[in-house]
Protein backbone atom coordinates (compact mmCIF):
# COMPACT_ATOMS: atom_id res chain seq x y z
CA UNK A 1 0.00 0.00 0.00
CA UNK A 2 2.79 2.38 1.02
CA UNK A 3 4.80 1.52 -2.05
CA UNK A 4 1.76 2.16 -4.20
CA UNK A 5 1.35 5.64 -2.68
CA UNK A 6 5.07 6.39 -3.20
CA UNK A 7 4.93 5.22 -6.80
CA UNK A 8 1.87 7.33 -7.42
CA UNK A 9 3.58 10.34 -5.80
CA UNK A 10 6.66 9.97 -8.02
CA UNK A 11 4.55 9.22 -11.10
CA UNK A 12 2.30 12.20 -10.46
CA UNK A 13 5.28 14.57 -10.53
CA UNK A 14 6.04 16.32 -13.77
CA UNK A 15 9.44 15.93 -15.44
CA UNK A 16 10.49 19.40 -14.22
CA UNK A 17 9.47 18.59 -10.63
CA UNK A 18 11.44 15.33 -10.77
CA UNK A 19 14.56 17.17 -11.96
CA UNK A 20 14.10 19.81 -9.25
CA UNK A 21 13.65 17.11 -6.57
CA UNK A 22 16.86 15.34 -7.71
CA UNK A 23 18.81 18.64 -7.77
CA UNK A 24 17.56 19.53 -4.26
CA UNK A 25 18.42 16.05 -2.94
CA UNK A 26 21.95 16.21 -4.40
CA UNK A 27 22.37 19.76 -3.02
CA UNK A 28 21.23 18.65 0.41
CA UNK A 29 23.64 15.70 0.42
CA UNK A 30 26.49 17.99 -0.68
CA UNK A 31 25.79 20.49 2.15
CA UNK A 32 25.33 17.61 4.62
CA UNK A 33 28.70 16.12 3.61
CA UNK A 34 30.49 19.49 3.95
CA UNK A 35 28.94 20.11 7.38
CA UNK A 36 29.85 16.59 8.52
CA UNK A 37 33.40 16.83 7.15
CA UNK A 38 34.10 20.25 8.76
CA UNK A 39 36.72 20.51 11.51
CA UNK A 40 34.94 21.70 14.62
CA UNK A 41 36.74 23.26 17.56
CA UNK A 42 35.60 24.69 20.83
CA UNK A 43 37.35 27.98 21.57
CA UNK A 44 37.79 29.29 25.09
CA UNK A 45 39.70 31.93 27.02
CA UNK A 46 39.66 32.92 30.66
CA UNK A 47 40.22 36.50 31.80
CA UNK A 48 42.54 36.96 34.77
CA UNK A 49 43.54 40.06 36.70
CA UNK A 50 47.00 41.58 36.51
CA UNK A 51 49.34 42.86 33.86
CA UNK A 52 51.08 40.77 31.25
CA UNK A 53 49.96 37.43 32.68
CA UNK A 54 49.49 34.56 30.27
CA UNK A 55 48.80 30.94 31.02
CA UNK A 56 48.34 28.74 27.97
CA UNK A 57 46.84 25.28 28.21
CA UNK A 58 48.45 23.17 25.50
CA UNK A 59 45.47 21.08 24.46
CA UNK A 60 45.08 20.06 20.83
CA UNK A 61 41.37 19.16 20.83
CA UNK A 62 40.26 22.66 21.65
CA UNK A 63 41.35 26.17 20.70
CA UNK A 64 42.14 26.89 24.31
CA UNK A 65 43.76 30.30 24.71
CA UNK A 66 44.28 29.71 28.42
CA UNK A 67 44.32 32.53 30.95
CA UNK A 68 44.95 36.03 29.67
CA UNK A 69 45.13 39.30 31.54
CA UNK A 70 44.04 42.56 29.84
CA UNK A 71 46.61 43.75 27.33
CA UNK A 72 47.98 40.30 26.52
CA UNK A 73 47.31 38.00 23.60
CA UNK A 74 47.67 34.34 22.69
CA UNK A 75 47.97 32.58 19.35
CA UNK A 76 46.77 29.09 18.48
CA UNK A 77 47.46 27.48 15.13
CA UNK A 78 45.60 24.82 13.21
CA UNK A 79 47.49 22.87 10.52
CA UNK A 80 45.40 21.88 7.55
CA UNK A 81 46.41 19.51 4.76
CA UNK A 82 44.66 18.63 1.54
CA UNK A 83 45.26 14.91 1.11
CA UNK A 84 42.85 14.60 -1.80
CA UNK A 85 43.47 14.97 -5.52
CA UNK A 86 41.20 18.00 -5.98
CA UNK A 87 41.49 21.59 -4.80
CA UNK A 88 39.60 22.51 -1.65
CA UNK A 89 38.07 25.85 -0.81
CA UNK A 90 38.58 26.35 2.92
CA UNK A 91 36.23 28.68 4.81
CA UNK A 92 36.47 29.49 8.51
CA UNK A 93 33.37 30.48 10.46
CA UNK A 94 33.33 31.34 14.16
CA UNK A 95 30.58 32.00 16.67
CA UNK A 96 30.24 32.83 20.33
CA UNK A 97 31.27 35.41 22.90
CA UNK A 98 34.98 34.94 22.06
CA UNK A 99 34.23 36.07 18.50
CA UNK A 100 34.75 39.78 19.19
CA UNK A 101 38.23 39.19 20.61
CA UNK A 102 39.46 36.64 18.09
CA UNK A 103 41.12 37.48 14.79
CA UNK A 104 41.90 34.92 12.13
CA UNK A 105 44.78 35.46 9.70
CA UNK A 106 42.63 34.31 6.77
CA UNK A 107 38.92 33.65 6.65
CA UNK A 108 38.97 31.71 3.38
CA UNK A 109 41.49 30.37 0.91
CA UNK A 110 42.02 27.65 -1.68
CA UNK A 111 44.20 24.67 -0.82
CA UNK A 112 45.73 22.80 -3.76
CA UNK A 113 45.99 18.98 -3.74
CA UNK A 114 48.76 17.70 -1.45
CA UNK A 115 49.44 21.17 0.01
CA UNK A 116 49.54 22.21 3.66
CA UNK A 117 48.62 25.49 5.30
CA UNK A 118 48.35 26.99 8.76
CA UNK A 119 45.40 28.97 10.11
CA UNK A 120 46.35 31.32 12.93
CA UNK A 121 43.85 32.35 15.59
CA UNK A 122 44.78 35.28 17.85
CA UNK A 123 42.92 36.42 20.93
CA UNK A 124 43.75 39.85 22.32
CA UNK A 125 42.36 40.75 25.74
CA UNK A 126 41.20 44.39 25.78
CA UNK A 127 41.32 46.71 28.79
CA UNK A 128 37.56 46.36 29.28
CA UNK A 129 37.58 42.56 29.62
CA UNK A 130 35.58 41.48 32.69
CA UNK A 131 37.95 39.81 35.17
CA UNK A 132 37.31 36.11 35.85
CA UNK A 133 34.97 35.78 32.89
CA UNK A 134 35.28 32.81 30.56
CA UNK A 135 34.55 33.55 26.92
CA UNK A 136 33.73 30.66 24.66
CA UNK A 137 32.82 29.98 21.07
CA UNK A 138 32.86 27.48 18.24
CA UNK A 139 35.08 27.47 15.18
CA UNK A 140 34.15 25.56 12.03
CA UNK A 141 36.63 24.94 9.24
CA UNK A 142 34.69 23.96 6.14
CA UNK A 143 36.47 22.23 3.26
CA UNK A 144 34.46 22.57 0.08
CA UNK A 145 35.62 20.55 -2.94
CA UNK A 146 36.34 22.96 -5.78
CA UNK A 147 38.01 21.19 -8.71
CA UNK A 148 37.27 24.26 -10.90
CA UNK A 149 39.51 26.46 -8.74
Amino acid sequence: MDEEVKQNFWQKMTKGEKILAIVLAVGFLFVFYIALDANKYQATVHVIAGEGKVGVNPTTERLDFGDLSPGTSAIRRVDIENGTTISMYVAIVNFGSINDLMTINKSSFTLSPGKKDVIEFTVYMPASAPIDATLTGRVFIFKIPGPWR
Binding site: P126, A127, P130
Partner: protein, 150 residues
Protein backbone atom coordinates in the same frame (compact mmCIF):
# COMPACT_ATOMS: atom_id res chain seq x y z
CA UNK B 1 -3.42 43.63 -20.58
CA UNK B 2 -4.89 43.76 -17.05
CA UNK B 3 -2.36 41.18 -15.90
CA UNK B 4 0.47 43.29 -17.31
CA UNK B 5 -0.83 46.45 -15.59
CA UNK B 6 -1.11 44.54 -12.30
CA UNK B 7 2.47 43.34 -12.73
CA UNK B 8 3.69 46.91 -13.33
CA UNK B 9 1.68 48.17 -10.33
CA UNK B 10 3.29 45.51 -8.10
CA UNK B 11 6.75 46.58 -9.25
CA UNK B 12 5.92 50.24 -8.52
CA UNK B 13 4.63 49.34 -5.03
CA UNK B 14 7.73 47.26 -4.21
CA UNK B 15 10.03 50.01 -5.52
CA UNK B 16 8.16 52.57 -3.40
CA UNK B 17 8.55 50.39 -0.27
CA UNK B 18 12.29 49.85 -0.92
CA UNK B 19 12.75 53.56 -1.68
CA UNK B 20 10.94 54.55 1.50
CA UNK B 21 13.20 52.27 3.55
CA UNK B 22 16.49 53.16 1.82
CA UNK B 23 15.94 56.92 1.51
CA UNK B 24 13.01 57.72 3.76
CA UNK B 25 14.32 56.12 6.96
CA UNK B 26 17.68 57.98 7.01
CA UNK B 27 15.83 61.19 6.08
CA UNK B 28 13.35 60.68 8.93
CA UNK B 29 16.15 59.86 11.39
CA UNK B 30 18.15 62.91 10.26
CA UNK B 31 15.15 65.14 11.05
CA UNK B 32 14.22 63.30 14.25
CA UNK B 33 17.73 63.07 15.75
CA UNK B 34 18.94 66.44 14.46
CA UNK B 35 22.16 65.24 12.86
CA UNK B 36 23.34 64.56 9.33
CA UNK B 37 24.85 61.27 10.50
CA UNK B 38 21.99 59.52 12.36
CA UNK B 39 23.26 55.96 11.85
CA UNK B 40 26.73 54.55 12.50
CA UNK B 41 28.17 51.07 12.17
CA UNK B 42 30.71 49.69 14.64
CA UNK B 43 33.76 48.56 12.69
CA UNK B 44 36.23 47.88 15.50
CA UNK B 45 36.21 46.22 18.89
CA UNK B 46 37.52 49.23 20.82
CA UNK B 47 34.21 49.69 22.68
CA UNK B 48 33.76 45.99 23.50
CA UNK B 49 31.76 44.72 25.38
CA UNK B 50 29.34 47.67 25.27
CA UNK B 51 29.44 47.78 21.47
CA UNK B 52 30.30 44.88 19.20
CA UNK B 53 31.70 44.79 15.66
CA UNK B 54 28.75 44.83 13.26
CA UNK B 55 26.39 46.73 15.56
CA UNK B 56 24.40 49.61 14.19
CA UNK B 57 23.88 52.54 16.56
CA UNK B 58 21.74 55.64 16.31
CA UNK B 59 23.34 59.05 16.83
CA UNK B 60 21.55 62.10 18.19
CA UNK B 61 22.79 65.68 18.09
CA UNK B 62 24.15 66.98 21.36
CA UNK B 63 24.98 70.50 22.47
CA UNK B 64 28.45 71.20 23.92
CA UNK B 65 27.04 71.96 27.38
CA UNK B 66 25.08 68.66 27.49
CA UNK B 67 28.13 66.43 26.98
CA UNK B 68 29.07 64.57 30.17
CA UNK B 69 31.97 62.33 31.17
CA UNK B 70 30.85 58.76 30.46
CA UNK B 71 28.82 59.63 27.34
CA UNK B 72 29.59 57.65 24.21
CA UNK B 73 30.06 60.18 21.44
CA UNK B 74 30.84 60.16 17.75
CA UNK B 75 33.47 62.51 16.41
CA UNK B 76 34.92 63.19 13.02
CA UNK B 77 38.38 61.74 12.69
CA UNK B 78 40.26 62.58 9.51
CA UNK B 79 43.60 61.29 10.82
CA UNK B 80 45.20 58.63 8.68
CA UNK B 81 42.54 58.80 6.00
CA UNK B 82 43.12 59.83 2.38
CA UNK B 83 42.03 63.38 1.53
CA UNK B 84 38.31 63.71 0.99
CA UNK B 85 37.48 60.62 3.08
CA UNK B 86 35.67 60.94 6.39
CA UNK B 87 36.33 58.75 9.36
CA UNK B 88 34.35 58.56 12.55
CA UNK B 89 35.31 57.45 16.01
CA UNK B 90 32.80 56.25 18.60
CA UNK B 91 34.41 56.38 22.04
CA UNK B 92 33.56 57.29 25.61
CA UNK B 93 34.20 60.76 27.02
CA UNK B 94 36.79 60.66 29.81
CA UNK B 95 37.66 64.33 30.28
CA UNK B 96 36.08 67.68 29.46
CA UNK B 97 37.86 70.99 29.11
CA UNK B 98 36.80 74.34 27.72
CA UNK B 99 37.85 73.93 24.09
CA UNK B 100 38.38 70.20 23.76
CA UNK B 101 37.35 66.88 25.22
CA UNK B 102 39.17 63.57 25.55
CA UNK B 103 37.72 60.19 24.60
CA UNK B 104 38.90 56.61 25.05
CA UNK B 105 37.66 53.29 23.78
CA UNK B 106 36.61 51.06 26.69
CA UNK B 107 38.87 48.31 25.37
CA UNK B 108 41.85 50.60 24.76
CA UNK B 109 44.64 51.30 27.21
CA UNK B 110 45.39 54.78 25.97
CA UNK B 111 43.14 57.80 25.47
CA UNK B 112 42.62 59.50 22.10
CA UNK B 113 44.11 62.88 21.31
CA UNK B 114 41.94 65.84 22.42
CA UNK B 115 38.92 66.43 20.19
CA UNK B 116 37.52 69.85 19.35
CA UNK B 117 33.85 70.33 20.19
CA UNK B 118 33.08 71.25 16.59
CA UNK B 119 34.23 67.78 15.52
CA UNK B 120 31.66 66.09 17.74
CA UNK B 121 28.78 64.82 15.63
CA UNK B 122 26.55 63.51 18.38
CA UNK B 123 25.95 61.04 21.17
CA UNK B 124 24.72 57.48 20.85
CA UNK B 125 21.03 57.07 21.53
CA UNK B 126 20.67 55.30 24.88
CA UNK B 127 18.29 52.61 26.10
CA UNK B 128 18.62 52.72 29.85
CA UNK B 129 22.30 52.55 30.79
CA UNK B 130 23.49 51.06 27.50
CA UNK B 131 23.51 52.46 23.98
CA UNK B 132 20.71 51.33 21.72
CA UNK B 133 22.32 48.93 19.26
CA UNK B 134 21.04 46.77 16.44
CA UNK B 135 23.30 43.70 16.24
CA UNK B 136 24.68 42.51 12.86
CA UNK B 137 23.00 45.32 10.88
CA UNK B 138 26.28 47.20 10.60
CA UNK B 139 28.12 44.36 8.87
CA UNK B 140 27.37 45.89 5.47
CA UNK B 141 29.57 48.86 6.46
CA UNK B 142 32.20 46.53 7.94
CA UNK B 143 32.44 44.56 4.68
CA UNK B 144 32.46 47.74 2.62
CA UNK B 145 35.36 49.07 4.76
CA UNK B 146 37.23 45.78 4.28
CA UNK B 147 36.75 45.97 0.52
CA UNK B 148 38.05 49.55 0.51
CA UNK B 149 41.19 48.63 2.46
CA UNK B 150 41.85 45.57 0.27
Amino acid sequence: MRKFLKFILNIVIYAAIVGAIVYGLPYYLTKKLGTNYPIAAITSGSMWPVLHIGDLVLIQKIAKEDIKVGDIIVWQNAKGLPAGRQGFTIHRVTKLSEKTLVTKGDGNFTADEPVRYEDVLGRTLMRGKDPLRIPYMGYISVWAALLRTN
